[in-house]
Amino acid sequence: LTIDGISPSKVVRPESIEELARALSRETGAIVPIGAGTQTSFGNPLRRADCAVDLTGLSRITEYVPADLTIHVEAGVTLERLEHTLLENNQFLPLDPWNGPAATVGGIAAANAQGPFRAAGTIRDWIIGMKVVEVDGRISKAGGRVVKNVTGYDLQKLYTGSLGTLAVIAEISLKLRAKFGRTATVVARFSDNEAAAECVAAIRKSPLQPVSCEWIGPENEVWLRFGEDSRAVDWQLKNVPAVADWVVSEGSDEAAAWERLRNRYNAFGPLVMRVVGLPTAVREIVEEYRPAAWIAHALNGIVLMQLSSPENIRSIRGKYRAVIEKAPVELRREIPTFGLNNSEYELMKQMKDAFDPEGRLNPGRHVDGERS
């Protein structure tokens, strides 16, 4: 196991939350929590590693109450297993992170990993509670086990996306939804940016409510996925803007199409930025920075772009918020992943100090690696 060129001297694999707590309380060096290892190159570079904590042993589904639409899983449960379990009761979560079904739920939360379902929300919207183990081995929880709850601070939101640098996520409670009655995907290819942008604008102004809306370049394809009651899907299919010849896919063809898109994204590199703007700014972002390839969550104003050189990063960040999705470690050593402003940096730094004053949890990966 090597992360950012560093190999931890030992690996522990706890099989329960209590074992995880004991392992952390004994450890005095730098701790690197790791799930399926699908996102180890996201974030600022790791600086030290004494003990890797392999969380795949925390693999129990601790409770699943279909009638309550809640499930409680340990961090090492994979998305694939979660999906299969839910399907037995015709339930699901609209999560399709690029790193795929082998990723663990804990890892998806820690990295706030996303995919084309972005238009329907992110894992943050489904997490109702979390149990974590802190750096000194203490177990603490936030949120609860019910679908609606405002008891205490929403610390589970803070842990989501913190890359395991505040505490180690041990168990996650999720609310669920009924599986879409039907899904269908339409794809159209356009001659140029302008035509694709016009199509996306027409969708934005329409009553359509796609759960995915991706503008893919340089091919200038627009992908829409509808998920609803079957008749509502029908209506939306009939009312897609008549600006192109849409190719409809359903069932296994549809699944295969999205799998191809996932593979396409995973082939992006070596430098990929997530540029965050407004839905109406997507075209401008694409035209101004001329990425070699891009996938835009067009209804969210988020563009994932493959850049041919890091020169543009500074100018992008002058105008938009932008996170480095992927980059070689040498580049990530030079350019901070998140590009935080001063007040964000100060608050996050203080938050890190409040949880991990000695900086032993995933040293360097998050705010503590933002500024040298």
Binding site: V65, P66, A67, D68, T70, R124, D125, R138, I139, S140, K141, A142, G144, R145, V146, V147, K148, N149, V150, T151, G152, Y153, D154, L155, K157, L158, T160, G161, S162, L166, A178, G181, R204, P207, E228, D229, R231, A232, D234, W235, Q236, V276, L278, T280, N300, G301, I302, R321, F338, G339, L340, E344, M348, Q350, M351, A354, F355, H366, V367, E370
Partner: protein, 522 residues
């Protein structure tokens, strides 16, 4: 608070915007939870973020406690100045700054009334989804502080799912901006943890909210049952059928009695033991079939009276009873406490039976009107504050209800917050370690504890305020609010700055001003 602090405040704010008259301060001695009271030393009415920041810096300089306040409709004592100090009243910051139709966002100030956002967005076919029952009077800033819910969060989520970005003043008086219009956390989700922090992390001064397109069609129906079990089973069956209703509300016999005797009369069947108000919305195509499927489930569970609203007027009428239920309780008793708790929805029948038994044991009537779809209970305990023993009983009963809900896997609050009311119950759901971690996060935002002190975390000291028998009726508070806001000895231009809909008075819904009431002696 020293005279010096007040004169400093007067240096930065115009004279009518600093209130320290003892009588006027009475208005601010409590929020929507009149069970607990304490007068602040001074109330300020800033108009800009800079004024808020300056007030906060003065408070820091003199080590005076301070807290934000919106419409004062909160039901857990979040805006209670329990340690006195400065109340920062944000109702003057009540402008909708922009509505971006194409990007479906609105930028608003914290004092904007929740409903006014939807009204302003309506001409563009958009609306703001979270709809607490107090939406005609509660402010969006208060919603952010409390992470407010409402009937429609069953489908659309809570406030936290609709807040994209904020500007805020920190506890130290620094102005910060967090979040972005894409709702994409950059680094840690600080915004996510500020929403719902009940005014203990920061004072929010500008809010970017997500707007949603209005659904093409809505179907609303009311189903009456002869038993609570059949009614609860219907809730479970609707969810199990994979239907995602936009609202699924439970109304019991006591509530129907109150509603039908009040101005909110909605024609609810008066012989029902329990009824469900069910709403589905979305695309027109398929909605009829979904509605029919629900009717079928109700029938299977022996609903004896099912009314499907034929048009908007009938829909509005069905909702009038539900939204007016809190206000209508004045028909049954002079005072009421609105409880708030969450349970896994499968545990509804047993919990309702247990609450019923408790009601008999304590000799206090309880009405149940709540968000059944997500297990969010609202037992309304009816009492008469003229009888001190009844007030005492409320504390015992509310504690028992909390324990009951926690025992079945639930939680202390689904949407009203912990505030001052429930802080001593926090130990029921959280360990010392959990609370310690939350306290460490609080110290990052609020290192000196001056911002909204004595909230959320349990106190070990005895609460001398608890059990005070001087409960002011909500109607009386409403009257005092009017006096001050309409300029009777208060800030002179309050009335002219208030939006039209507000001045005309609310058309329904439980807010402090309209609870039919007023019999309790002083």
């Amino acid at each position: 608070v020293k005279k010096e602090v007040i004169s400093k405040l007067r240096q930065i704010l115009a004279a009518p915007c600093v209130v320290d008259d003892e009588t006027e301060l009475l208005v601010y001695e409590c929020d929507g939870l009149p069970l607990f009271k304490n007068k602040p030393d001074v109330v300020v009415f800033p108009r800009t973020v800079d004024e808020v920041a300056q007030v906060v810096r003065i408070a820091n300089e003199y080590r005076v406690p301070f807290l934000p306040r919106g419409a004062g409709t909160g039901l857990s004592g979040g805006a209670l100045a329990i340690e006195g100090g400065i109340v920062i009243e944000l109702q003057r910051m009540n402008r909708i700054l922009s509505i971006d139709v194409e990007n479906r966002i609105a930028v608003v100030q914290p004092g904007v009334v929740n409903l006014h956002i939807s009204q302003a967005a309506a001409p563009h076919g958009l609306y703001y989804a979270p709809d607490p029952s107090s939406q005609m009077s509660c402010s969006i800033g208060g919603n952010v502080a409390e992470n407010s819910g409402g009937p429609h969060c069953l489908k659309y989520g809570m406030t936290t799912n609709h807040i994209l970005a904020i500007e805020a003043v920190t506890a130290k008086g620094e102005i910060i901006r967090l979040g972005n219009p894409a709702g994409e956390p950059i680094g840690m989700d600080l915004l996510g943890v500020i929403v719902g922090s009940e005014g203990t992390f920061a004072i929010v001064t500008e809010i970017t909210v997500r707007l949603l397109p209005k659904p093409q069609a809505v179907k609303t129906l009311l189903a009456a049952f002869h038993s609570v079990e059949e009614c609860s089973q219907t809730v479970s069956d609707v969810i199990a059928a994979g239907i995602v209703p936009s609202a699924l509300e439970f109304v019991d016999a006591k509530t129907i009695e109150a509603v039908e005797a009040s101005v909110y009369k909605a024609g609810y069947p008066q012989d029902a033991v329990a009824a469900l108000l069910i709403e589905v919305d979305g695309f027109r195509d398929g909605l009829e079939e979904t509605s029919n499927a629900i009717v079928e489930i109700c029938r299977r569970n022996r609903s004896y009276d099912i009314r499907v609203a034929k048009d908007d007027e009938e829909r509005a009428k069905l909702w009038l009873g539900r939204k007016g239920a809190f206000g209508a309780m004045g028909r049954l008793a002079p005072d009421m406490i609105t409880m708030d708790a969450v349970i896994p929805r499968t545990r509804l029948p047993e919990v309702l039976v247990a609450i019923d038994r408790m009601s008999e044991r304590y000799g206090l009537d309880v009405a149940n009107v709540f968000h059944a779809g997500d297990g969010n209970l609202h037992p309304l305990i009816l009492f008469d504050s003229r009888y001190p023993d009844q007030v005492d009983k409320i504390f015992g009963m509310s504690e028992e209800i909390m324990k009951l809900c926690v025992d079945v896997g639930g939680s202390l609050s689904g949407e009203h917050g912990i505030g001052y009311e429930k802080k001593d119950f926090m130990g029921l759901v959280f360990t010392e370690a959990d609370l310690d971690t939350m306290m460490r996060v609080k110290r990052v935002f609020n290192p000196d504890g001056l911002l909204n002190p004595s909230k959320i975390f349990p106190s070990r000291r005895a609460c001398t305020e608890v059990g005070k028998h001087t409960t002011t009726s909500t109607a009386e508070i409403g009257k005092r609010v009017e006096e001050v806001l309409l300029g009777v000895g208060g800030p002179a231009d309050a009335q002219s700055r208030r939006p039209q809909a507000y001045r005309q008075g609310p058309a329904g819904g439980p807010d402090a001003q309209e609870k039919p009431h007023g019999k309790a002696p002083r």
